[in-house]
Protein backbone atom coordinates (compact mmCIF):
# COMPACT_ATOMS: atom_id res chain seq x y z
CA UNK A 1 0.00 0.00 0.00
CA UNK A 2 1.44 3.42 -0.88
CA UNK A 3 2.36 5.52 2.13
CA UNK A 4 -0.08 8.29 1.19
CA UNK A 5 -3.01 5.92 1.54
CA UNK A 6 -1.68 4.64 4.83
CA UNK A 7 -1.43 8.12 6.30
CA UNK A 8 -4.80 9.15 4.92
CA UNK A 9 -6.41 6.10 6.40
CA UNK A 10 -5.05 7.07 9.81
CA UNK A 11 -6.30 10.64 9.45
CA UNK A 12 -9.72 9.57 8.25
CA UNK A 13 -10.03 7.02 11.01
CA UNK A 14 -9.33 9.79 13.50
CA UNK A 15 -11.85 12.14 11.86
CA UNK A 16 -14.56 9.51 11.73
CA UNK A 17 -13.72 8.50 15.28
CA UNK A 18 -14.17 12.07 16.45
CA UNK A 19 -17.41 12.35 14.50
CA UNK A 20 -18.83 9.23 16.11
CA UNK A 21 -17.73 10.32 19.55
CA UNK A 22 -19.40 13.68 19.02
CA UNK A 23 -22.46 12.00 17.63
CA UNK A 24 -22.59 9.69 20.61
CA UNK A 25 -21.97 12.43 23.15
CA UNK A 26 -24.38 14.97 21.75
CA UNK A 27 -27.22 12.71 20.74
CA UNK A 28 -30.06 13.06 23.24
CA UNK A 29 -30.02 9.98 25.46
CA UNK A 30 -33.43 8.58 24.66
CA UNK A 31 -33.27 9.36 20.93
CA UNK A 32 -34.47 6.57 18.65
CA UNK A 33 -35.92 4.46 21.46
CA UNK A 34 -39.28 4.23 19.74
CA UNK A 35 -38.81 6.21 16.56
CA UNK A 36 -37.05 9.22 15.14
CA UNK A 37 -37.53 11.34 18.25
CA UNK A 38 -36.58 11.47 21.91
CA UNK A 39 -38.30 8.63 23.68
CA UNK A 40 -38.38 10.62 26.90
CA UNK A 41 -39.70 13.78 25.23
CA UNK A 42 -42.94 13.81 27.19
CA UNK A 43 -41.35 12.93 30.50
CA UNK A 44 -38.64 15.55 30.00
CA UNK A 45 -41.33 18.16 29.52
CA UNK A 46 -43.30 16.84 32.43
CA UNK A 47 -40.29 17.31 34.69
CA UNK A 48 -39.76 20.92 33.76
CA UNK A 49 -40.33 23.33 36.59
CA UNK A 50 -43.81 24.80 36.63
CA UNK A 51 -43.95 28.52 35.94
CA UNK A 52 -47.63 29.39 35.88
CA UNK A 53 -49.98 28.38 38.67
CA UNK A 54 -53.37 29.84 37.73
CA UNK A 55 -55.79 32.21 39.40
CA UNK A 56 -56.95 29.69 42.00
CA UNK A 57 -53.49 29.70 43.56
CA UNK A 58 -53.59 33.47 44.01
CA UNK A 59 -56.94 33.17 45.75
CA UNK A 60 -55.27 31.79 48.89
CA UNK A 61 -53.78 35.16 49.79
CA UNK A 62 -55.29 37.79 47.43
CA UNK A 63 -58.90 36.70 47.69
CA UNK A 64 -59.98 40.35 47.85
CA UNK A 65 -58.51 41.09 44.44
CA UNK A 66 -59.72 37.85 42.95
CA UNK A 67 -63.30 38.51 43.94
CA UNK A 68 -63.03 42.19 43.04
CA UNK A 69 -61.77 41.29 39.58
CA UNK A 70 -64.73 38.96 39.12
CA UNK A 71 -67.06 41.96 39.21
CA UNK A 72 -65.49 43.63 36.19
CA UNK A 73 -64.89 42.96 32.52
CA UNK A 74 -61.46 41.42 33.19
CA UNK A 75 -63.22 38.51 34.85
CA UNK A 76 -61.89 35.98 32.39
CA UNK A 77 -58.25 37.08 32.48
CA UNK A 78 -55.74 35.04 34.40
CA UNK A 79 -53.84 37.10 36.96
CA UNK A 80 -50.55 35.95 35.51
CA UNK A 81 -51.29 37.24 32.03
CA UNK A 82 -50.56 40.68 33.44
CA UNK A 83 -48.31 39.89 36.40
CA UNK A 84 -46.14 37.22 34.86
CA UNK A 85 -45.44 33.66 36.03
CA UNK A 86 -46.24 33.26 39.71
CA UNK A 87 -44.80 29.90 40.77
CA UNK A 88 -41.86 31.35 42.65
CA UNK A 89 -44.03 34.10 44.12
CA UNK A 90 -46.43 31.71 45.79
CA UNK A 91 -43.49 29.83 47.33
CA UNK A 92 -42.03 32.97 48.84
CA UNK A 93 -43.91 36.21 48.14
CA UNK A 94 -41.50 38.40 50.09
CA UNK A 95 -38.44 37.72 47.95
CA UNK A 96 -40.05 36.96 44.60
CA UNK A 97 -42.01 40.01 43.58
CA UNK A 98 -44.18 39.95 40.51
CA UNK A 99 -44.27 42.54 37.75
CA UNK A 100 -46.67 45.45 38.15
CA UNK A 101 -47.57 46.29 34.55
CA UNK A 102 -48.17 50.01 34.85
CA UNK A 103 -47.10 51.20 31.39
CA UNK A 104 -49.73 52.18 28.83
CA UNK A 105 -48.25 49.74 26.31
CA UNK A 106 -49.05 46.83 28.61
CA UNK A 107 -52.77 47.50 28.38
CA UNK A 108 -52.20 48.19 24.70
CA UNK A 109 -51.03 44.61 24.12
CA UNK A 110 -54.70 43.66 24.23
CA UNK A 111 -56.58 46.92 23.74
CA UNK A 112 -54.61 48.71 21.03
CA UNK A 113 -56.55 49.32 17.84
CA UNK A 114 -55.79 46.50 15.49
CA UNK A 115 -57.67 45.81 12.31
CA UNK A 116 -56.87 42.13 12.50
CA UNK A 117 -58.87 41.76 15.74
CA UNK A 118 -62.61 41.87 15.93
CA UNK A 119 -64.19 44.65 18.04
CA UNK A 120 -66.77 42.10 19.09
CA UNK A 121 -64.16 40.18 21.03
CA UNK A 122 -62.22 42.99 22.61
CA UNK A 123 -62.88 46.66 23.08
CA UNK A 124 -60.21 48.75 21.44
CA UNK A 125 -58.96 52.27 21.97
CA UNK A 126 -56.34 54.15 20.02
CA UNK A 127 -53.42 54.54 22.38
CA UNK A 128 -52.30 57.64 20.51
CA UNK A 129 -55.63 59.38 21.15
CA UNK A 130 -57.26 57.98 24.29
CA UNK A 131 -56.22 60.26 27.21
CA UNK A 132 -52.59 60.37 26.22
CA UNK A 133 -51.38 62.43 29.19
CA UNK A 134 -51.92 59.75 31.83
CA UNK A 135 -51.22 56.10 32.45
CA UNK A 136 -54.23 53.88 31.96
CA UNK A 137 -54.21 52.97 35.64
CA UNK A 138 -54.34 56.61 36.70
CA UNK A 139 -58.02 56.42 35.75
CA UNK A 140 -59.01 52.79 35.29
CA UNK A 141 -58.64 50.29 38.07
CA UNK A 142 -56.65 47.52 36.53
CA UNK A 143 -58.63 44.74 38.15
CA UNK A 144 -61.99 46.23 37.35
CA UNK A 145 -61.46 48.82 34.63
CA UNK A 146 -65.09 49.97 34.54
CA UNK A 147 -64.43 51.58 37.88
CA UNK A 148 -62.34 54.68 37.98
CA UNK A 149 -59.93 55.95 40.58
CA UNK A 150 -60.81 59.22 42.24
Amino acid sequence: MPQQIKKLLIVFTIIFGIFFIIKYALKPKSFGEFGHYRGLAIIENENKQVKYVGTEACNDCHDDIVSYKKEGPHVNLQCEVCHGPGYLHIQDPETNKLIIPSKREKCGICHQKNAARSENNITQVNLKEHNVENKCIDCHKAHNPYEFKD
Binding site: Q4, I5, V11, K27, P28, K113, N126
Partner: protein, 396 residues
Amino acid sequence: MDPRYESLYEALKNVHGYIYPNEISLTWSILIVEYPYITGLVAGAFILASLNRVFKIKALEPTYIISLLTAFAFLLVATMPLISHLGKPLRFWEIMITPHSTSAMAIFGFVYLWYLMIVLLLEIWFDYRYDFVIWSREKKGVMKYVYKILTLGAMGTSEKDLKWDKKIGYFITVVGIPSAFLLHGYVGFIFGSVKANPWWSSVMMPVIFLFSAMVSGIALVLFVYMGINFIRKKVQNMPTLDSIGKYLFYILIIDFTLESLDQIHRIYEANESFEILSMLVSGKLFFTLGIMQITVGTLIPLLILGFFQFFKPADKIRRIAYFLISIFVLTGVFFMRWNVVIGGQLFSKSLHGFTTYNLGFGGQEGFLMALFWMIIPFGILAFLLWLLPPWKKAVH
Protein backbone atom coordinates in the same frame (compact mmCIF):
# COMPACT_ATOMS: atom_id res chain seq x y z
CA MET B 1 -56.52 57.28 7.90
CA ASP B 2 -58.06 55.34 10.74
CA PRO B 3 -54.98 53.91 12.45
CA ARG B 4 -56.78 50.67 12.91
CA TYR B 5 -56.32 49.99 9.23
CA GLU B 6 -52.78 51.30 9.09
CA SER B 7 -50.97 48.02 9.61
CA LEU B 8 -53.27 46.25 7.23
CA TYR B 9 -52.69 48.87 4.55
CA GLU B 10 -48.98 48.60 5.15
CA ALA B 11 -49.16 44.89 4.36
CA LEU B 12 -51.65 45.21 1.54
CA LYS B 13 -49.51 47.74 -0.28
CA ASN B 14 -47.29 44.78 -1.18
CA VAL B 15 -50.11 42.64 -2.43
CA HIS B 16 -51.85 42.51 -5.77
CA GLY B 17 -54.92 40.45 -6.38
CA TYR B 18 -55.95 37.61 -4.10
CA ILE B 19 -53.44 36.03 -1.80
CA TYR B 20 -53.56 33.88 1.32
CA PRO B 21 -52.47 35.60 4.55
CA ASN B 22 -49.42 33.39 5.07
CA GLU B 23 -48.06 34.23 1.64
CA ILE B 24 -47.68 37.95 2.20
CA SER B 25 -44.11 37.79 3.46
CA LEU B 26 -41.52 35.49 1.90
CA THR B 27 -39.92 32.84 4.06
CA TRP B 28 -36.97 32.17 1.74
CA SER B 29 -34.92 35.28 1.42
CA ILE B 30 -31.80 36.41 -0.42
CA LEU B 31 -29.71 34.01 1.65
CA ILE B 32 -31.54 31.09 0.07
CA VAL B 33 -30.78 32.67 -3.30
CA GLU B 34 -27.14 32.69 -2.39
CA TYR B 35 -26.99 29.08 -1.29
CA PRO B 36 -27.60 27.47 -4.71
CA TYR B 37 -25.52 30.24 -6.25
CA ILE B 38 -22.43 29.45 -4.19
CA THR B 39 -22.84 25.66 -4.44
CA GLY B 40 -23.18 26.16 -8.19
CA LEU B 41 -19.95 28.14 -8.35
CA VAL B 42 -18.21 25.29 -6.52
CA ALA B 43 -19.55 22.57 -8.74
CA GLY B 44 -18.85 24.58 -11.89
CA ALA B 45 -15.29 25.47 -10.98
CA PHE B 46 -14.61 21.88 -10.01
CA ILE B 47 -16.07 20.45 -13.20
CA LEU B 48 -13.88 22.81 -15.22
CA ALA B 49 -10.83 21.59 -13.33
CA SER B 50 -11.78 17.95 -13.80
CA LEU B 51 -12.49 18.19 -17.51
CA ASN B 52 -9.18 19.89 -17.76
CA ARG B 53 -7.45 17.01 -16.02
CA VAL B 54 -9.30 14.17 -17.66
CA PHE B 55 -9.10 15.55 -21.19
CA LYS B 56 -5.67 17.13 -20.67
CA ILE B 57 -6.42 20.45 -22.38
CA LYS B 58 -3.07 22.17 -22.62
CA ALA B 59 -4.38 25.74 -22.82
CA LEU B 60 -6.44 25.35 -19.66
CA GLU B 61 -3.54 24.05 -17.60
CA PRO B 62 -2.78 27.36 -15.79
CA THR B 63 -6.33 27.43 -14.43
CA TYR B 64 -6.37 23.90 -13.09
CA ILE B 65 -5.12 24.53 -9.56
CA ILE B 66 -6.82 27.90 -9.41
CA SER B 67 -10.17 26.31 -10.17
CA LEU B 68 -9.65 23.73 -7.46
CA LEU B 69 -8.70 26.31 -4.86
CA THR B 70 -11.61 28.54 -5.92
CA ALA B 71 -14.00 25.63 -5.61
CA PHE B 72 -12.60 24.84 -2.18
CA ALA B 73 -12.81 28.43 -0.92
CA PHE B 74 -16.44 28.70 -1.97
CA LEU B 75 -17.35 25.25 -0.73
CA LEU B 76 -16.25 26.17 2.78
CA VAL B 77 -18.82 28.96 2.74
CA ALA B 78 -21.55 27.18 0.78
CA THR B 79 -23.62 26.20 3.81
CA MET B 80 -23.17 29.47 5.66
CA PRO B 81 -26.06 31.36 4.01
CA LEU B 82 -28.31 28.44 4.92
CA ILE B 83 -27.11 28.38 8.47
CA SER B 84 -27.40 32.12 8.99
CA HIS B 85 -30.94 31.92 7.64
CA LEU B 86 -31.93 29.53 10.44
CA GLY B 87 -33.93 30.77 13.39
CA LYS B 88 -31.39 29.12 15.68
CA PRO B 89 -28.14 29.08 13.69
CA LEU B 90 -26.11 27.56 16.51
CA ARG B 91 -28.16 24.38 16.40
CA PHE B 92 -27.36 23.61 12.75
CA TRP B 93 -25.24 20.57 13.62
CA GLU B 94 -28.23 18.71 15.00
CA ILE B 95 -29.22 17.79 11.47
CA MET B 96 -25.98 15.80 11.25
CA ILE B 97 -26.24 14.14 14.65
CA THR B 98 -29.72 12.73 14.16
CA PRO B 99 -30.27 12.79 10.40
CA HIS B 100 -33.50 11.49 9.01
CA SER B 101 -33.26 9.47 5.83
CA THR B 102 -36.38 11.06 4.36
CA SER B 103 -35.12 14.60 4.89
CA ALA B 104 -33.68 16.07 1.70
CA MET B 105 -31.81 18.66 3.72
CA ALA B 106 -30.19 16.15 6.07
CA ILE B 107 -28.94 14.08 3.17
CA PHE B 108 -27.57 17.24 1.60
CA GLY B 109 -25.35 17.56 4.65
CA PHE B 110 -23.74 14.24 3.80
CA VAL B 111 -23.52 14.88 0.09
CA TYR B 112 -21.77 18.11 1.00
CA LEU B 113 -19.37 16.42 3.42
CA TRP B 114 -18.56 13.69 0.94
CA TYR B 115 -17.75 16.27 -1.66
CA LEU B 116 -15.73 18.45 0.70
CA MET B 117 -13.73 15.76 2.46
CA ILE B 118 -13.41 12.95 0.01
CA VAL B 119 -13.31 14.75 -3.28
CA LEU B 120 -12.06 18.29 -3.07
CA LEU B 121 -9.74 18.16 -0.07
CA LEU B 122 -8.16 14.90 -1.20
CA GLU B 123 -7.69 16.04 -4.75
CA ILE B 124 -5.97 19.22 -3.61
CA TRP B 125 -3.90 17.27 -1.12
CA PHE B 126 -2.63 14.83 -3.72
CA ASP B 127 -1.82 17.71 -6.04
CA TYR B 128 0.19 19.47 -3.38
CA ARG B 129 1.68 16.66 -1.33
CA TYR B 130 5.02 16.74 -3.12
CA ASP B 131 5.18 20.52 -2.80
CA PHE B 132 4.39 20.30 0.90
CA VAL B 133 7.40 18.05 1.34
CA ILE B 134 9.64 20.40 -0.62
CA TRP B 135 8.34 23.51 1.16
CA SER B 136 8.68 21.89 4.57
CA ARG B 137 12.34 21.41 3.79
CA GLU B 138 12.91 24.89 2.39
CA LYS B 139 10.91 27.11 4.75
CA LYS B 140 12.02 28.31 8.14
CA GLY B 141 10.20 28.86 11.42
CA VAL B 142 6.54 28.10 11.92
CA MET B 143 5.77 27.61 8.24
CA LYS B 144 8.16 24.67 8.14
CA TYR B 145 5.96 22.84 10.63
CA VAL B 146 2.72 23.96 9.03
CA TYR B 147 3.77 22.34 5.77
CA LYS B 148 5.09 19.34 7.61
CA ILE B 149 1.71 18.81 9.25
CA LEU B 150 0.02 19.28 5.89
CA THR B 151 2.00 16.35 4.46
CA LEU B 152 0.29 14.20 7.13
CA GLY B 153 3.60 12.45 7.45
CA ALA B 154 3.70 11.13 3.89
CA MET B 155 7.15 12.48 3.08
CA GLY B 156 8.15 10.21 0.20
CA THR B 157 9.48 11.91 -2.92
CA SER B 158 10.57 8.95 -4.99
CA GLU B 159 9.39 8.36 -8.56
CA LYS B 160 7.04 5.72 -7.26
CA ASP B 161 5.45 8.00 -4.68
CA LEU B 162 4.85 10.68 -7.28
CA LYS B 163 3.29 8.15 -9.60
CA TRP B 164 0.88 7.17 -6.85
CA ASP B 165 -0.01 10.82 -6.23
CA LYS B 166 -0.91 11.15 -9.88
CA LYS B 167 -2.78 7.89 -10.11
CA ILE B 168 -4.93 8.40 -7.03
CA GLY B 169 -5.45 12.06 -7.91
CA TYR B 170 -6.74 10.99 -11.29
CA PHE B 171 -9.02 8.41 -9.72
CA ILE B 172 -10.47 11.03 -7.37
CA THR B 173 -11.08 13.34 -10.30
CA VAL B 174 -13.02 10.62 -12.05
CA VAL B 175 -15.08 9.98 -8.91
CA GLY B 176 -15.31 13.73 -8.42
CA ILE B 177 -17.11 14.57 -11.64
CA PRO B 178 -20.25 12.60 -10.79
CA SER B 179 -19.94 13.86 -7.22
CA ALA B 180 -19.98 17.46 -8.41
CA PHE B 181 -22.98 16.64 -10.57
CA LEU B 182 -24.60 15.06 -7.56
CA LEU B 183 -23.88 18.02 -5.30
CA HIS B 184 -25.45 20.56 -7.53
CA GLY B 185 -28.03 18.37 -9.17
CA TYR B 186 -29.16 17.77 -5.63
CA VAL B 187 -29.69 21.47 -5.00
CA GLY B 188 -31.84 21.62 -8.10
CA PHE B 189 -33.62 18.51 -6.93
CA ILE B 190 -34.55 20.16 -3.64
CA PHE B 191 -36.40 22.87 -5.57
CA GLY B 192 -37.64 20.69 -8.40
CA SER B 193 -39.33 18.33 -5.97
CA VAL B 194 -41.54 20.96 -4.37
CA LYS B 195 -44.59 19.66 -6.15
CA ALA B 196 -46.93 22.32 -4.82
CA ASN B 197 -45.08 25.08 -6.65
CA PRO B 198 -45.61 25.18 -10.41
CA TRP B 199 -42.64 27.52 -10.91
CA TRP B 200 -40.27 24.99 -9.33
CA SER B 201 -41.78 21.60 -9.81
CA SER B 202 -40.02 20.30 -12.91
CA VAL B 203 -37.81 17.32 -13.58
CA MET B 204 -35.64 19.65 -15.64
CA MET B 205 -34.65 21.56 -12.52
CA PRO B 206 -31.57 19.49 -11.53
CA VAL B 207 -30.23 19.56 -15.09
CA ILE B 208 -30.83 23.27 -15.49
CA PHE B 209 -29.19 23.97 -12.16
CA LEU B 210 -26.25 21.85 -13.16
CA PHE B 211 -25.59 23.59 -16.43
CA SER B 212 -26.07 27.07 -15.04
CA ALA B 213 -23.68 25.97 -12.29
CA MET B 214 -21.06 25.08 -14.86
CA VAL B 215 -21.62 28.38 -16.62
CA SER B 216 -21.17 30.33 -13.41
CA GLY B 217 -18.20 28.24 -12.29
CA ILE B 218 -16.36 28.77 -15.54
CA ALA B 219 -17.11 32.49 -15.43
CA LEU B 220 -15.83 32.61 -11.86
CA VAL B 221 -12.58 30.88 -12.78
CA LEU B 222 -12.18 33.30 -15.68
CA PHE B 223 -12.75 36.20 -13.30
CA VAL B 224 -10.42 34.87 -10.62
CA TYR B 225 -7.72 33.92 -13.13
CA MET B 226 -7.73 37.37 -14.68
CA GLY B 227 -7.87 38.98 -11.24
CA ILE B 228 -4.86 37.01 -10.02
CA ASN B 229 -2.84 37.86 -13.09
CA PHE B 230 -3.79 41.48 -12.69
CA ILE B 231 -2.81 41.63 -9.03
CA ARG B 232 0.46 39.78 -9.68
CA LYS B 233 1.08 42.09 -12.64
CA LYS B 234 1.46 39.15 -15.02
CA VAL B 235 0.52 39.18 -18.68
CA GLN B 236 -2.83 37.55 -19.37
CA ASN B 237 -2.28 34.34 -21.26
CA MET B 238 -4.52 34.82 -24.31
CA PRO B 239 -4.75 31.16 -25.44
CA THR B 240 -5.96 30.27 -21.94
CA LEU B 241 -8.54 33.05 -21.94
CA ASP B 242 -9.67 32.07 -25.42
CA SER B 243 -10.17 28.46 -24.52
CA ILE B 244 -12.01 29.28 -21.29
CA GLY B 245 -14.14 31.58 -23.43
CA LYS B 246 -14.77 28.78 -25.87
CA TYR B 247 -15.97 26.38 -23.17
CA LEU B 248 -18.06 29.10 -21.59
CA PHE B 249 -19.67 29.64 -24.97
CA TYR B 250 -20.52 25.97 -25.47
CA ILE B 251 -21.91 25.42 -22.00
CA LEU B 252 -23.82 28.68 -22.16
CA ILE B 253 -25.54 27.49 -25.33
CA ILE B 254 -26.54 24.21 -23.69
CA ASP B 255 -27.71 26.03 -20.59
CA PHE B 256 -29.75 28.52 -22.55
CA THR B 257 -31.28 25.77 -24.67
CA LEU B 258 -32.29 23.75 -21.62
CA GLU B 259 -33.82 26.73 -19.88
CA SER B 260 -35.69 27.71 -23.02
CA LEU B 261 -36.89 24.15 -23.41
CA ASP B 262 -38.27 24.25 -19.89
CA GLN B 263 -40.11 27.49 -20.62
CA ILE B 264 -41.35 26.40 -24.04
CA HIS B 265 -42.66 23.23 -22.49
CA ARG B 266 -44.48 25.33 -19.93
CA ILE B 267 -45.90 27.61 -22.59
CA TYR B 268 -47.07 24.74 -24.76
CA GLU B 269 -48.51 22.84 -21.83
CA ALA B 270 -50.25 26.02 -20.62
CA ASN B 271 -51.79 24.35 -17.60
CA GLU B 272 -53.82 26.19 -14.97
CA SER B 273 -50.77 27.93 -13.52
CA PHE B 274 -49.73 29.35 -16.86
CA GLU B 275 -51.60 32.62 -16.64
CA ILE B 276 -50.11 33.65 -13.31
CA LEU B 277 -46.63 32.55 -14.35
CA SER B 278 -46.75 34.59 -17.54
CA MET B 279 -47.90 37.58 -15.51
CA LEU B 280 -45.03 36.90 -13.15
CA VAL B 281 -42.49 36.77 -15.93
CA SER B 282 -43.73 39.89 -17.69
CA GLY B 283 -44.33 41.81 -14.48
CA LYS B 284 -42.56 41.19 -11.19
CA LEU B 285 -39.66 39.30 -12.74
CA PHE B 286 -39.30 41.43 -15.83
CA PHE B 287 -36.17 43.17 -14.62
CA THR B 288 -34.44 40.23 -12.97
CA LEU B 289 -35.38 37.69 -15.63
CA GLY B 290 -35.78 39.60 -18.86
CA ILE B 291 -33.03 42.15 -18.38
CA MET B 292 -30.53 40.66 -15.93
CA GLN B 293 -30.71 36.93 -16.50
CA ILE B 294 -31.51 36.67 -20.19
CA THR B 295 -30.14 39.85 -21.72
CA VAL B 296 -27.14 40.69 -19.57
CA GLY B 297 -26.35 37.22 -18.29
CA THR B 298 -26.95 35.18 -21.44
CA LEU B 299 -27.58 36.93 -24.74
CA ILE B 300 -24.86 39.58 -24.58
CA PRO B 301 -22.16 37.09 -23.51
CA LEU B 302 -23.39 34.61 -26.12
CA LEU B 303 -23.20 37.20 -28.88
CA ILE B 304 -19.75 38.42 -27.93
CA LEU B 305 -18.34 34.94 -27.34
CA GLY B 306 -19.93 33.72 -30.55
CA PHE B 307 -18.35 36.59 -32.41
CA PHE B 308 -14.96 35.68 -30.95
CA GLN B 309 -15.28 32.16 -32.31
CA PHE B 310 -15.09 33.55 -35.83
CA PHE B 311 -13.27 36.85 -35.56
CA LYS B 312 -10.42 37.67 -33.27
CA PRO B 313 -10.21 41.36 -32.43
CA ALA B 314 -7.04 42.73 -30.82
CA ASP B 315 -5.89 41.09 -27.58
CA LYS B 316 -6.64 44.15 -25.54
CA ILE B 317 -10.26 44.24 -26.67
CA ARG B 318 -10.68 40.53 -26.05
CA ARG B 319 -9.17 40.86 -22.61
CA ILE B 320 -11.59 43.57 -21.59
CA ALA B 321 -14.46 41.69 -23.19
CA TYR B 322 -13.62 38.48 -21.33
CA PHE B 323 -13.43 40.30 -18.05
CA LEU B 324 -16.77 42.00 -18.60
CA ILE B 325 -18.33 38.76 -19.78
CA SER B 326 -17.21 36.96 -16.65
CA ILE B 327 -18.93 39.61 -14.54
CA PHE B 328 -22.04 39.62 -16.74
CA VAL B 329 -22.39 35.86 -16.59
CA LEU B 330 -21.81 35.77 -12.84
CA THR B 331 -24.50 38.41 -12.41
CA GLY B 332 -26.83 36.62 -14.79
CA VAL B 333 -26.57 33.32 -12.94
CA PHE B 334 -27.10 35.06 -9.63
CA PHE B 335 -30.34 36.44 -10.99
CA MET B 336 -31.26 33.03 -12.36
CA ARG B 337 -31.14 31.75 -8.75
CA TRP B 338 -33.03 34.85 -7.66
CA ASN B 339 -35.76 34.23 -10.21
CA VAL B 340 -36.14 30.64 -9.10
CA VAL B 341 -36.07 31.19 -5.34
CA ILE B 342 -37.77 34.56 -5.01
CA GLY B 343 -39.92 34.20 -8.13
CA GLY B 344 -41.37 30.95 -6.84
CA GLN B 345 -42.67 32.68 -3.74
CA LEU B 346 -44.06 35.83 -5.31
CA PHE B 347 -47.30 34.38 -6.58
CA SER B 348 -50.14 33.01 -4.51
CA LYS B 349 -51.00 29.37 -4.36
CA SER B 350 -54.50 30.52 -5.27
CA LEU B 351 -52.92 31.48 -8.63
CA HIS B 352 -54.78 34.78 -8.38
CA GLY B 353 -52.40 37.22 -6.80
CA PHE B 354 -48.88 38.39 -6.03
CA THR B 355 -46.89 39.57 -3.10
CA THR B 356 -43.66 41.59 -3.06
CA TYR B 357 -40.21 40.84 -1.74
CA ASN B 358 -38.59 43.69 0.14
CA LEU B 359 -34.88 43.13 0.58
CA GLY B 360 -33.82 44.65 3.88
CA PHE B 361 -30.43 46.27 4.27
CA GLY B 362 -29.21 45.04 7.65
CA GLY B 363 -30.45 42.27 9.88
CA GLN B 364 -30.18 38.52 9.82
CA GLU B 365 -31.46 38.14 6.27
CA GLY B 366 -30.55 41.50 4.82
CA PHE B 367 -28.34 42.67 2.02
CA LEU B 368 -25.29 43.14 4.24
CA MET B 369 -25.40 39.55 5.45
CA ALA B 370 -25.65 38.29 1.87
CA LEU B 371 -22.78 40.52 0.81
CA PHE B 372 -20.72 39.28 3.73
CA TRP B 373 -21.02 35.66 2.64
CA MET B 374 -20.12 36.66 -0.91
CA ILE B 375 -16.91 38.41 0.17
CA ILE B 376 -15.65 35.81 2.64
CA PRO B 377 -14.83 33.17 -0.03
CA PHE B 378 -12.56 35.64 -1.79
CA GLY B 379 -10.77 36.20 1.51
CA ILE B 380 -10.37 32.45 1.95
CA LEU B 381 -9.14 32.15 -1.61
CA ALA B 382 -6.54 34.85 -1.01
CA PHE B 383 -5.37 32.97 2.06
CA LEU B 384 -5.20 29.70 0.15
CA LEU B 385 -3.23 31.31 -2.64
CA TRP B 386 -0.81 32.60 -0.06
CA LEU B 387 -0.49 29.26 1.70
CA LEU B 388 -0.46 27.13 -1.44
CA PRO B 389 0.84 29.38 -4.20
CA PRO B 390 0.21 27.54 -7.50
CA TRP B 391 2.96 29.52 -9.19
CA LYS B 392 5.55 28.12 -6.78
CA LYS B 393 4.56 24.53 -7.38
CA ALA B 394 7.28 22.25 -8.63
CA VAL B 395 6.82 21.07 -12.20
CA HIS B 396 6.43 17.34 -12.38
